[in-house]
Amino acid sequence: MIRVVVDSSSLVSAVISPAGPNAAVFELIKAGQLRPYFTNDVLAEYTRVFEYDRLRHLDRRRIAGLRLVLEVAGIKVKPRGRLKISSHETDNRIYECAQAAKADYIITENTKHFPKAHTYTKIITARQLLKLLEVERA
Protein backbone atom coordinates (compact mmCIF):
# COMPACT_ATOMS: atom_id res chain seq x y z
CA MET A 1 0.00 0.00 0.00
CA ILE A 2 1.42 3.36 -1.01
CA ARG A 3 1.04 6.04 1.64
CA VAL A 4 0.18 9.48 0.36
CA VAL A 5 -0.62 12.93 1.66
CA VAL A 6 -2.89 14.68 -0.81
CA ASP A 7 -2.38 18.44 -0.91
CA SER A 8 -5.56 20.56 -1.09
CA SER A 9 -4.72 21.65 -4.66
CA SER A 10 -4.96 18.03 -5.81
CA LEU A 11 -8.11 17.43 -3.80
CA VAL A 12 -9.85 20.43 -5.36
CA SER A 13 -8.83 19.38 -8.88
CA ALA A 14 -10.22 15.90 -8.26
CA VAL A 15 -13.44 17.22 -6.77
CA ILE A 16 -14.34 19.65 -9.54
CA SER A 17 -13.60 17.43 -12.51
CA PRO A 18 -13.63 13.71 -13.29
CA ALA A 19 -10.94 14.24 -15.91
CA GLY A 20 -7.22 14.59 -15.32
CA PRO A 21 -4.52 12.99 -13.21
CA ASN A 22 -5.86 14.13 -9.83
CA ALA A 23 -9.19 12.42 -10.46
CA ALA A 24 -7.21 9.33 -11.48
CA VAL A 25 -5.34 9.45 -8.17
CA PHE A 26 -8.67 9.31 -6.36
CA GLU A 27 -9.60 6.29 -8.47
CA LEU A 28 -6.48 4.61 -7.07
CA ILE A 29 -7.51 5.62 -3.55
CA LYS A 30 -10.96 4.13 -4.19
CA ALA A 31 -9.33 0.96 -5.49
CA GLY A 32 -7.27 0.72 -2.31
CA GLN A 33 -3.92 1.13 -4.06
CA LEU A 34 -3.13 4.42 -2.37
CA ARG A 35 -3.90 5.21 1.24
CA PRO A 36 -4.36 8.87 2.16
CA TYR A 37 -3.12 10.19 5.49
CA PHE A 38 -4.11 13.40 7.23
CA THR A 39 -3.67 15.40 10.37
CA ASN A 40 -6.31 17.65 11.87
CA ASP A 41 -4.55 20.60 10.21
CA VAL A 42 -4.75 18.97 6.79
CA LEU A 43 -8.42 18.09 7.26
CA ALA A 44 -9.18 21.65 8.37
CA GLU A 45 -7.58 22.90 5.17
CA TYR A 46 -9.61 20.44 3.08
CA THR A 47 -12.77 22.02 4.44
CA ARG A 48 -11.55 25.61 4.38
CA VAL A 49 -10.42 25.58 0.77
CA PHE A 50 -14.02 25.05 -0.33
CA GLU A 51 -14.98 28.38 1.25
CA TYR A 52 -13.12 30.17 -1.55
CA ASP A 53 -15.36 32.45 -3.68
CA ARG A 54 -16.17 30.06 -6.52
CA LEU A 55 -15.88 26.85 -4.56
CA ARG A 56 -18.33 27.87 -1.86
CA HIS A 57 -21.14 27.44 -4.38
CA LEU A 58 -20.76 23.70 -3.89
CA ASP A 59 -23.26 22.22 -1.44
CA ARG A 60 -21.76 22.54 2.07
CA ARG A 61 -23.37 19.27 3.13
CA ARG A 62 -21.62 17.44 0.32
CA ILE A 63 -18.28 18.95 1.32
CA ALA A 64 -18.92 17.90 4.92
CA GLY A 65 -19.81 14.43 3.61
CA LEU A 66 -16.58 14.28 1.63
CA ARG A 67 -14.60 15.03 4.77
CA LEU A 68 -16.44 12.37 6.77
CA VAL A 69 -15.79 9.80 4.07
CA LEU A 70 -12.14 10.74 3.71
CA GLU A 71 -11.58 10.47 7.45
CA VAL A 72 -12.65 6.82 7.37
CA ALA A 73 -11.12 5.99 3.99
CA GLY A 74 -7.73 7.26 5.10
CA ILE A 75 -5.75 7.35 8.31
CA LYS A 76 -5.50 10.25 10.69
CA VAL A 77 -2.11 10.81 12.30
CA LYS A 78 -0.76 13.20 14.89
CA PRO A 79 2.21 15.35 13.91
CA ARG A 80 5.30 14.69 16.01
CA GLY A 81 6.22 18.35 16.13
CA ARG A 82 6.64 21.46 14.08
CA LEU A 83 8.84 21.31 10.97
CA LYS A 84 10.41 24.21 9.11
CA ILE A 85 11.21 22.92 5.67
CA SER A 86 9.19 25.20 3.42
CA SER A 87 9.56 28.96 3.51
CA HIS A 88 5.77 29.06 3.25
CA GLU A 89 5.07 28.35 6.90
CA THR A 90 1.64 26.83 6.28
CA ASP A 91 3.03 24.30 3.80
CA ASN A 92 4.98 22.80 6.67
CA ARG A 93 1.72 21.33 8.00
CA ILE A 94 1.74 19.02 4.97
CA TYR A 95 5.34 18.01 5.67
CA GLU A 96 4.42 17.33 9.31
CA CYS A 97 1.59 15.08 8.19
CA ALA A 98 3.90 13.24 5.79
CA GLN A 99 6.48 12.75 8.52
CA ALA A 100 3.94 11.35 10.99
CA ALA A 101 2.49 9.06 8.32
CA LYS A 102 5.87 7.99 6.96
CA ALA A 103 4.27 8.84 3.64
CA ASP A 104 5.83 7.75 0.38
CA TYR A 105 4.55 10.82 -1.46
CA ILE A 106 3.09 14.26 -1.04
CA ILE A 107 0.83 14.71 -4.06
CA THR A 108 0.50 18.34 -5.05
CA GLU A 109 -0.13 20.56 -8.03
CA ASN A 110 2.13 23.15 -6.51
CA THR A 111 5.55 21.52 -6.27
CA LYS A 112 7.23 24.93 -5.94
CA HIS A 113 5.81 25.21 -2.43
CA PHE A 114 7.45 21.94 -1.44
CA PRO A 115 11.11 22.53 -2.25
CA LYS A 116 12.53 19.21 -1.12
CA ALA A 117 11.78 15.64 -0.25
CA HIS A 118 11.67 14.79 3.44
CA THR A 119 13.15 11.55 4.81
CA TYR A 120 10.93 8.91 3.18
CA THR A 121 8.62 11.31 1.39
CA LYS A 122 8.96 12.45 -2.20
CA ILE A 123 7.15 15.44 -3.66
CA ILE A 124 5.22 14.56 -6.77
CA THR A 125 2.39 15.73 -8.99
CA ALA A 126 -0.52 13.41 -9.71
CA ARG A 127 0.64 13.11 -13.31
CA GLN A 128 4.17 12.10 -12.24
CA LEU A 129 2.82 9.55 -9.78
CA LEU A 130 0.60 7.94 -12.40
CA LYS A 131 3.52 7.73 -14.78
CA LEU A 132 5.70 6.19 -12.10
CA LEU A 133 3.09 3.57 -11.24
CA GLU A 134 2.65 2.82 -14.93
CA VAL A 135 6.40 2.22 -15.31
CA GLU A 136 6.44 0.01 -12.21
CA ARG A 137 3.55 -2.06 -13.58
CA ALA A 138 5.21 -2.50 -16.99
Binding site: V12, R54, L66
Partner: protein, 101 residues
Protein backbone atom coordinates in the same frame (compact mmCIF):
# COMPACT_ATOMS: atom_id res chain seq x y z
CA UNK B 1 -40.00 35.88 -9.96
CA UNK B 2 -36.45 37.17 -10.13
CA UNK B 3 -34.76 38.58 -7.07
CA UNK B 4 -32.20 41.33 -7.68
CA UNK B 5 -28.69 39.94 -7.37
CA UNK B 6 -27.71 42.22 -4.47
CA UNK B 7 -30.70 41.04 -2.43
CA UNK B 8 -29.90 37.42 -3.23
CA UNK B 9 -26.30 37.90 -2.14
CA UNK B 10 -27.32 39.72 1.04
CA UNK B 11 -29.49 36.74 1.96
CA UNK B 12 -26.77 34.26 0.94
CA UNK B 13 -28.99 32.54 -1.62
CA UNK B 14 -27.90 30.65 -4.69
CA UNK B 15 -29.32 31.61 -8.06
CA UNK B 16 -32.29 29.35 -8.84
CA UNK B 17 -33.27 28.73 -5.20
CA UNK B 18 -36.97 27.84 -4.94
CA UNK B 19 -38.96 30.48 -3.08
CA UNK B 20 -42.27 30.20 -1.27
CA UNK B 21 -44.41 33.34 -1.37
CA UNK B 22 -47.12 34.04 1.20
CA UNK B 23 -49.47 37.00 1.20
CA UNK B 24 -49.44 38.84 4.50
CA UNK B 25 -52.05 41.25 5.76
CA UNK B 26 -52.15 44.32 3.62
CA UNK B 27 -50.23 44.59 0.36
CA UNK B 28 -47.22 42.68 1.67
CA UNK B 29 -45.56 39.40 0.69
CA UNK B 30 -43.35 37.07 2.70
CA UNK B 31 -40.73 35.35 0.52
CA UNK B 32 -39.08 32.30 2.10
CA UNK B 33 -36.33 30.24 0.45
CA UNK B 34 -37.08 26.53 0.18
CA UNK B 35 -34.12 24.22 0.60
CA UNK B 36 -34.60 20.74 -0.72
CA UNK B 37 -33.31 18.00 1.52
CA UNK B 38 -31.43 15.25 -0.23
CA UNK B 39 -31.93 12.23 2.01
CA UNK B 40 -29.00 10.46 0.40
CA UNK B 41 -26.48 13.03 1.60
CA UNK B 42 -23.91 11.61 3.95
CA UNK B 43 -24.49 12.85 7.47
CA UNK B 44 -22.62 10.27 9.52
CA UNK B 45 -19.27 8.55 9.26
CA UNK B 46 -19.21 5.36 7.20
CA UNK B 47 -18.86 2.24 9.38
CA UNK B 48 -15.65 0.99 7.87
CA UNK B 49 -13.02 1.67 5.24
CA UNK B 50 -14.72 -0.47 2.59
CA UNK B 51 -17.95 1.45 2.97
CA UNK B 52 -16.04 4.74 3.01
CA UNK B 53 -14.31 3.95 -0.29
CA UNK B 54 -17.68 3.21 -1.91
CA UNK B 55 -19.13 6.42 -0.51
CA UNK B 56 -16.09 8.34 -1.70
CA UNK B 57 -16.93 7.48 -5.29
CA UNK B 58 -20.53 8.53 -4.82
CA UNK B 59 -19.79 11.85 -3.12
CA UNK B 60 -17.15 12.69 -5.74
CA UNK B 61 -19.63 11.95 -8.54
CA UNK B 62 -22.21 14.23 -6.95
CA UNK B 63 -19.75 17.05 -6.37
CA UNK B 64 -18.41 16.82 -9.92
CA UNK B 65 -21.93 16.93 -11.32
CA UNK B 66 -22.67 19.99 -9.20
CA UNK B 67 -19.38 21.61 -10.20
CA UNK B 68 -20.23 21.10 -13.85
CA UNK B 69 -23.72 22.55 -13.46
CA UNK B 70 -22.32 25.64 -11.73
CA UNK B 71 -19.35 26.08 -14.08
CA UNK B 72 -16.84 25.44 -11.31
CA UNK B 73 -15.25 22.60 -13.25
CA UNK B 74 -13.53 25.20 -15.43
CA UNK B 75 -11.40 26.59 -12.61
CA UNK B 76 -7.80 27.02 -13.69
CA UNK B 77 -4.82 25.59 -11.83
CA UNK B 78 -3.80 29.14 -10.90
CA UNK B 79 -7.21 29.82 -9.37
CA UNK B 80 -7.10 26.55 -7.44
CA UNK B 81 -3.70 27.55 -6.07
CA UNK B 82 -5.15 30.91 -5.04
CA UNK B 83 -7.97 29.11 -3.21
CA UNK B 84 -5.44 26.95 -1.34
CA UNK B 85 -3.27 29.96 -0.50
CA UNK B 86 -6.28 31.82 0.87
CA UNK B 87 -7.37 28.84 2.98
CA UNK B 88 -3.86 28.62 4.45
CA UNK B 89 -3.72 32.34 5.18
CA UNK B 90 -7.11 32.25 6.89
CA UNK B 91 -6.23 29.22 8.98
CA UNK B 92 -2.91 30.76 9.99
CA UNK B 93 -4.67 33.98 11.01
CA UNK B 94 -7.15 32.02 13.10
CA UNK B 95 -4.51 29.92 14.80
CA UNK B 96 -2.49 33.02 15.71
CA UNK B 97 -5.60 34.52 17.31
CA UNK B 98 -6.24 31.35 19.35
CA UNK B 99 -5.07 31.80 22.97
CA UNK B 100 -2.17 29.60 24.05
CA UNK B 101 -3.09 26.74 26.38
Amino acid sequence: MVLPRHLREMAGLEEGTMMKVDVLEGPRFLVTPQFTVDRDLITSKPKNRKEALLELGRVLDELRQEAKEKGIDKMSKAEINRAVAKARRDLKKESSKRPLK
